[in-house]
């Protein structure tokens, strides 16, 4: 079994790329990651993407990217796990390098969302749950998260505003992140003044739709950052089918497996890139990983624990909420950002002395969870 290193990384700013196609986004991120890697022979390309068929009339992204990069002949494929597609692509790249059969693997996560009408996009995102039993009753993806948030507030007697500290943290960190979609900080009052999209989730507490792509070159040759563990777990597809919908079992299991494989102490982690699509997802993820007690994540956020200068910084470049959420790209962005932290290239967003980072990317409402643990090679 080989060890797996990140040899290089690249991304493009997240935002509205009206003059760039799905292919342009992937190619640009790939070329950024491959800058200065001229002699490297790539053995495999893995693309993470959720909705290119429905939103962009385009599938077959593996061959498409290989062809566009002038690499015809190479093995290439797309992997999909809803909003966890990017993390799953890194996992697929990781296991191919680890197997010893592939030396260098290019992993690209991409989503081109801004070309689509909002209602069409809302339908596409709902495909993360059941067509026959979730979509038919008119549910959107955000409404499923709203149902959980209301349940959480009711069970733990928590006010909405404690959960809304997560978008405040995200936006604060995004101000100084060169590649973030929103460089504007806002207060809890700003969140509370924004309209509900699905009560109790508001416009300013929802991740945006975004265009973006990020890329990683994984290699078995030693480099600055090692991926110590890459673990995946699944939960019941539909939140209504779960015994305790407020328990993110997939994240709990993937995190536990990853911690065991990496042989680390969870308290030695220097920063976390979590899947903060909505405040309730951030809270339940932190609780599933044991960093906050059940019902307490919002209070910990309010008390500064998760700030960039707090005990355990999260969303160090703004997370899904403010860096932006190009769905199939997100899981790869998280790992590129972890790479930046661990190589000391995070600029004003640098977590001082960062040596160990965790990323968590989910598909659906914790239906698939992908956890990576990364370490600076000393």
């Amino acid at each position: 079994m080989s060890k797996v290193y990140i040899k290089s990384a690249g991304l493009i700013p997240v935002g509205e790329h009206w003059n760039k196609s799905l292919t342009d986004l992937m190619v640009e991120a790939s070329l950024n990651a491959l800058k200065g890697q001229d002699g490297v022979k790539i053995d495999r390309i893995v693309v993470g993407n959720m909705m290119s068929g429905y939103l962009n009339n385009q599938e077959h992204l593996g061959a498409l990217l290989a062809s566009a990069l002038g690499m015809k002949g190479i093995e290439a494929l797309k992997v999909e796990a809803a909003c966890g597609s990017g993390g799953m692509a890194v996992h697929e790249g990781y296991i191919s390098v680890k197997s010893g059969d592939y030396e260098n693997v290019l992993v690209v996560g991409v989503e081109k969302m801004k070309d689509a009408d909002t209602q069409v996009l809302t339908k596409a995102l709902a495909m993360a749950e059941s067509a026959d039993f979730t979509q038919v009753v008119g549910a959107s993806f955000i409404s499923l998260n709203a149902l959980l948030m209301r349940m959480y507030m009711n069970k733990y007697n928590v006010q909405e505003e404690f959960l809304d500290y997560f978008p405040v943290i995200a936006h604060k960190n995004a101000v100084t992140a060169a590649h973030s979609q929103f460089k504007k900080a806002f207060t809890l009052e700003d969140v509370k003044r924004s309209p509900y999209l699905a009560e109790p989730i508001r416009l300013l507490s929802s991740a945006p739709s975004s265009d973006g792509a990020a890329a990683l070159l994984l290699s078995s040759k030693p480099s600055d950052v090692e991926i110590l563990a890459s673990e995946v777990s699944t939960n019941e597809l539909m939140i209504s089918q779960r015994e305790n919908p407020l328990k993110f079992e997939a994240t709990e299991k993937a995190f536990k497996k990853a911690v065991e494989k990496a042989e680390i102490n969870p308290s030695s982690v220097d920063f976390l890139e979590i899947h903060d699509a909505f405040p309730i997802v951030a809270a339940l993820s932190l609780e599933a990983m044991g960093y906050s007690a059940e019902g307490r994540a919002g209070f910990d956020a309010a008390n500064g624990k998760y700030n960039l200068d707090g005990d355990l910084p999260i969303l160090t470049f703004g997370g899904l909420k403010a860096r932006g959420h190009p769905v199939g790209g997100t899981g790869v962005y998280q790992i590129v950002e972890a790479y930046m932290q661990l190589t000391g290239t995070a600029g004003k967003n640098q977590v001082q002395g960062a040596k160990l980072g965790v990323t968590q990317n989910v598909g659906g409402v914790d239906t698939t969870s992908v956890v990576h643990i990364l370490r600076k090679v000393s």
Binding site: V137, G138, S140, M151, P245
Partner: protein, 129 residues
């Protein structure tokens, strides 16, 4: 909405037909082919009870494209009286009157339609009792 998929599931959508495990008695909606509790593949059709309790709800102002003419949608998770949880809309409601713990009953309502001359899709919604 896909017309043939709707037709295939019409019994489920109008009568809440789920399944029951003949070995351990666990009940499911939507129906399953493999029991999640004991792994048995010996299951039978089982009609769900039509009454239950709201365990969470939301008012959705931006529904997916197939439901764009029906905004806002009041969506809820209902724990039926046999313990099975179902996702569905609350019919004839205003969000101000919906509360966790309210009793509801399943009823048949229009879900959506394929344009002016297309199929009209009917299925369960829940009304407050």
């Amino acid at each position: 909405m896909i017309p043939i998929a709707y037709w295939r599931n019409r019994k489920l959508y109008t009568r809440l037909i789920g399944s029951r495990c003949k070995r351990c008695g666990a009940e499911y909606y939507p129906p399953v082919k493999v029991c999640k509790k004991c792994g048995s593949v010996d299951l039978e059709e089982k009609e769900m009870p039509k009454t239950g309790t709201i365990i969470s709800y939301t008012k959705l102002t931006e529904p997916p494209v197939d439901f764009k003419d029906y905004s806002p949608i009041y969506l809820a998770m209902i724990r039926l009286d046999n313990g099975v949880t179902v996702l569905g809309q609350i019919a004839d409601a205003e969000s101000e009157e919906i509360r966790i713990g309210m009793r509801v009953m399943a009823t048949i309502r229009k879900w959506t339609e394929d344009g002016q001359n297309g199929i009209i899709y009917y299925g369960y919604k829940f009304k407050i009792i």
